[in-house]
Every structure is written in C-alpha cells, then in structure tokens.
C-alpha cells in the first residue's frame, strides 16, 4: 500500500491509518518533493508545474521499489495524482483509494467545484500572511511540546521545513488543476471516501469523481472536514479495509 499525502501536510497525516494494514501489506509512505522531509534541492519548478510531475514520482517510486498490485491511497490532491499515475500505467495498480478527492476546485459552467478563481487568489494571500509567522515563530513552539515529543518532530518536518515559495507553487498547481477528463481513463477499481461536510471538496464533488470513474464505489463517511485520515482514522481505515476485502 502506497500512501500519498495532500497539500499542506506530510506523510504523518496517515499515522492513524496505515498501522492496521501493516500485517497484510507492505506499507510505503513518502513525502512529495517540496514537502516534509523531502530533498528540497530536488524541487524543479518546471516538473512540478503540473500534477503529472507528482504522478511521475509515484510511478518512479513503484518501479524503484519494484511494487506490483499497488493499493494507492491518496488524500486530497494526491487522489488526483493517483488517478494520473493509474491512467498512465494501469499495470502497476490493484486498487485506488481516493480520500476527499476533487477533480476541479473551481466552478466551471454547470460544474460546482466550490471555489471561484478569486477564492484561490485569496488562499495564496492567506499563505503569504501565515508563512511570515511560520518560519521563526512556530518552530520553537512546536519543538517545545515536551509531553509528546514525537509530535514536535512530526510538525517540525511537516510545517517548518516547508519552503514558502514551494508551498505557494504547490497551492497554485493544486487548486488550479482540472482533472475531470482524466477520470474516465482509469480502469483500476477505486474507492472514493467522501466526508459528510467538507469545506474543500463538497459531497457533489465526491459524487462527480465516483460517477466519472469507470469502476468506483462511493462511501460517505460520518466524519466532517477535509482530513478524515486525521480526524477519523478508525472510520477511514475501516472503510478502506472493507473495500479491500470486498
């Protein structure tokens, strides 16, 4: 099983989910280039100007580790990264699990993505506002979490090492992407996990993804928010396990 994190976080997002699968699967966790503990010098603006660049990375990981029959679990934008990877090299993948996916964040004609172009611009602005504080202020606060030092470690990796320019670029690529036309190209059996209330990917978006994928099952989770892997890891894990056994 290959777990891919979404925008804003790193692989620690899966910490409550992957352990239950470790007995039956080989678990592969990674940080996208530019996030978490990845080698920032490997970041290439050109390559990562489209989600396809991230999908190529996924395929490279699969080949390098000689993985086969891969269960790809992708959260948020990584769900679409998995869609692109599976469309390009279907032989590698046994199943796709798409957690809180969206094929297009911006409204377009009759399609409701949930956001306007102006909304995305205001996101980029709020990131500017926050990274001013992140760099110097957050690090000591996070490191100083004495009762649960492992959290400090995770967050230092996750947030403080994120380069503001890379984060901006990733945000732009993520939220301006349009992968609606890629969905029908996926032959891999897929599970779409949709939260009850998701401020980023509303239910109609999850239904759209499940409808357009040729072989997909939609499960609506009782969890609210955009990160059920973090807020409801039990429920998320159970839904994935049921899909894999069924």
């Amino acid at each position: 099983m290959l777990f891919a994190h979404g925008f804003g976080c790193d692989q620690s997002m899966w910490r409550g989910v992957w352990p239950r699968f470790a007995a039956r699967h080989r678990i592969v966790l990674f940080d996208h280039v530019g996030a978490g503990g990845s080698d920032l010098s490997a970041y290439d603006v050109e390559r990562y100007s489209e989600l396809q660049g991230y999908a190529e990375d996924v395929l490279e990981i699969c080949r390098e580790l000689e993985l086969s029959d891969v269960v790809f679990v992708g959260h948020s934008v990584a769900a679409m990264i998995g869609v692109l990877a599976a469309a390009k090299d279907p032989e590698l993948f046994g199943a796709l699990v798409l957690v809180s996916p969206s094929a297009r964040y911006i409204d377009d004609g009759g399609y409701v993505g949930g956001f306007s172009r102006e909304d995305i611009d205001s996101l980029l602005e709020s990131m500017d506002g926050n990274y001013l504080g992140w760099s110097a202020q957050m690090a000591p606060a996070i490191m100083g979490n004495a009762e649960r030092p492992e959290l400090g470690e995770e967050l230092t990796n996750s947030f403080c090492r994120t380069d503001p320019e890379i984060a901006r670029h990733f945000a732009r690529v993520t939220f301006l992407s349009d992968n609606r036309a890629d969905l029908p190209e996926v032959s891999t059996p897929s599970l779409v996990l949709q939260c009850r209330e998701d401020a980023i990917a509303p239910e109609s978006v999850g239904r759209f993804v499940a409808d357009r994928l040729p072989d997909a099952r939609l499960v609506i989770l009782d969890a609210v928010g955009h990160c059920p892997n973090l807020s409801a890891p039990e429920e998320t894990g159970t839904a994935i396990a049921e899909f894999l056994s069924g």
């Binding site: 979404g6 925008f7 804003g8 976080c9 620690s12 997002m13 080698d39 010098s41 490997a42 970041y43 290439d44 603006v45 050109e46 390559r47 948020s76 956001f115 306007s116 102006e118 909304d119 995305i120 611009d121 205001s122 996101l123 980029l124 602005e125 709020s126 500017d128 506002g129 926050n130 001013l132 504080g133 202020q137 957050m138 606060a141 996070i142 979490n145 649960r148 959290l151 400090g152 995770e154 967050l155 996750s158 947030f159 380069d163 503001p164 320019e165 890379i166 670029h169 939220f175 209330e197 998701d198 401020a199 980023i200 969890a223 609210v224 928010g225 955009h226 990160c227 973090l230 807020s231």
Partner: protein, 377 residues
Amino acid sequence: MSTPGVPPEQSAEELFEEAPCGYLTTTPDGTILRVNRTFERWLGVRRGDVVGRRRFVDLLAPGSRIYHETHYAPLLRLQGEASEIALDFKRENGPPLPVLVNSIAVGEGEGAAIRTTVFDASERRRYERELLAARREEHEIARRLQESMLTGVLPEAPGLAIAATYRPAVRGLQVGGDWYDAFWLGEGHLGLVVGDVVGRGIEAAATMGQLRSATRALASTGLRPAALLEALDAFADRHRVGVMATLVFADLDLTDRTLSFACAGHPPPVLARGDDPPEFLWGGRSMPINAQGGGHRERTEADCDLRVGGLFLLYTDGLVEHRGSDLDEGMQKLLGAVGRRRDEVPGTLTERLVRDLEVEEHRDDVCTLVLALGRSG
C-alpha cells in the same frame, strides 16, 4: 449579563463577554458552542444564528477556509494547539476581517472542545503585505539590475562564434553576482571574462557591476591577464569591493589563435581541440580577488593554442556544483557533455550544457560563455 452585586471587573462573565478579543469554543469538528459579544460585534453575527448551527470554518473567507482545512485543523489534531494563525473572517457587512487566532484543544470524549481567541490584525496584515511587497520588489530590482548588465551585444567576426547564457537561481533565493563579458581589445584581440562575486541581492549585483566595469577598463589599457588581476586586486582593495570574487580573464589573439588566461580562484576553463577529448585548463591559477585583505599577491597566467575548430568554455560554479553530489562528479559530467556537444552551434551548446548538467534543479545562478573558432553564428 453581569452578576448582580459583583463589579464588572470581578465578573468572569463580563471578562469573557467584553474581552478585547473574540472568544469562541467549538466541538472538535468545529461546530460552534459559544461565542462572546466582541466576536458577535466584530463579525456582525448573532449567537443565535451560529451556535449549534455553523462550524468555525463556515465563518471564514474562502481562501482561509482552504488554509484552515489543509494546515490549521491538521495542526490542531496533531499537536493539540495552534497559535498565531492568520485567517480572514467573512463579515455580514463589509470586507473580510483579517485576524490572528490561537486555539487549544481541551477535555476528552464527550467533553472535548476547542477554545479559540481571535485578535483583530487589520493593521498588522497591511504592514506585512507591505513588507512582503518590498521584499519582492527588491528581488525584482536586483534581478533587473543584473540582467541589464548582461544583455550587451557579443563581439562578432567571420570564423568566430561566441554565445553566453545567464540563468538566475531557479526560485525563491535572491539573485547572485555571476557575470560574463566579451569585448574587443583592438588589433585582433578579444577579451573574455566570467566571474562570480560573493553574496546575493542588490549588493551582489552592484559589486558585480563595479568589477565588470573595472575589468573592462583595465583590459583596455593593454594589461596582460596576470597583470590585469593584480590591478583588479589593487582596485578591489582600494575601493573595498569584491573581496573573494572569482574570475577568469582570457585574451585571445585572433591572428595566431593563441589564448592567454589567468584564473583568480575560479573553476578552470574547458578546452576542446581537434579530436582530443575536452580538458580542464589548470594553468594560470591564483587566489580569488583581494583574498585575505590587502597586500601583494602573486598572479600567474598561462597560454594555449586554440587552433581552428577549437572550443573554449568559461562558466561559474553553479554549472558543476550540485547539492548532494560532489564537485568532481559535476566536473566530469561537464567534460562528458562538452565532448558530446562540441560540434553544436555555441548558441544552442550553452543552453544544452545547462540542461545536460541538470541545472534546472539548481538553487544557484549559472553563467556560461563559449567561444568557437572556425565557425560563425
């Protein structure tokens, strides 16, 4: 709402309701449990409309909504608190309210909740925006300054082809102080320079401009390469600029195709002649400019015969220095790439060298200058 008989300053209720910050509590999934009067006033909402009905994230402007879901909520889950997060609240009447929020998760199970205080950050946000804009402007000025000094016309002559590339650092970082130059020295002599000053930003670009002009001016007096470096040391020392800058100066005599060059702490030039494999020219080496402060430094120079069909390459360290791999490897890669591409037109050759050496992934500036004899264009 104050308690009868208790002065306002001793009433917890009053302190909560009229605190000089917005105060709200929510369930772990963000459903609003309670808000204070300051919060109601700032946002233009009534508690009856939000308590139990809306989630925290519903009150945010769209951009902040995404930020909340991708950063803030995960952070709270992972470490139980989050502080100084910049968000924008929607307001019933008027533009969004920029705020800084602190949150802490309390209690467990049924009693679990999140307490959040909200501080008006309108002024701070304006100021931060100005700072950010100023930083971007400075970066842009430095970039334009550097580019404006690197866009002159290169010398042309029959049987001579010169091309150069300047590639600024890929992202984020400030521009560096790399430069290239090529100019006529009169009577069939051509001056070629590639250099690199220490530092980044406007200061580095300005230093580069001074050294570049000084090199040009000194070269025009007919100084040989080693003597030119000595004069440049004196210039750098006297005017306190360009300490530890590195450069190669080469003087090509087109009548007999001999090349004299001197290298001040700079990566060695590459020479490719006839069918010989490309090689580094390790002659004529000495310290960087004005190294170790004033004093006299011994400068040396070397000569080589370029021959018709020969290729001479100058470059800055960004071309061969790759984070995470060693310098030797980068230099061997450069020789290999020059060997494969030596017959290409200099204009495309420089571009392709940059590509072959995966400079795309570099965080440093890269400058290259190629001269080919026996070819035009």
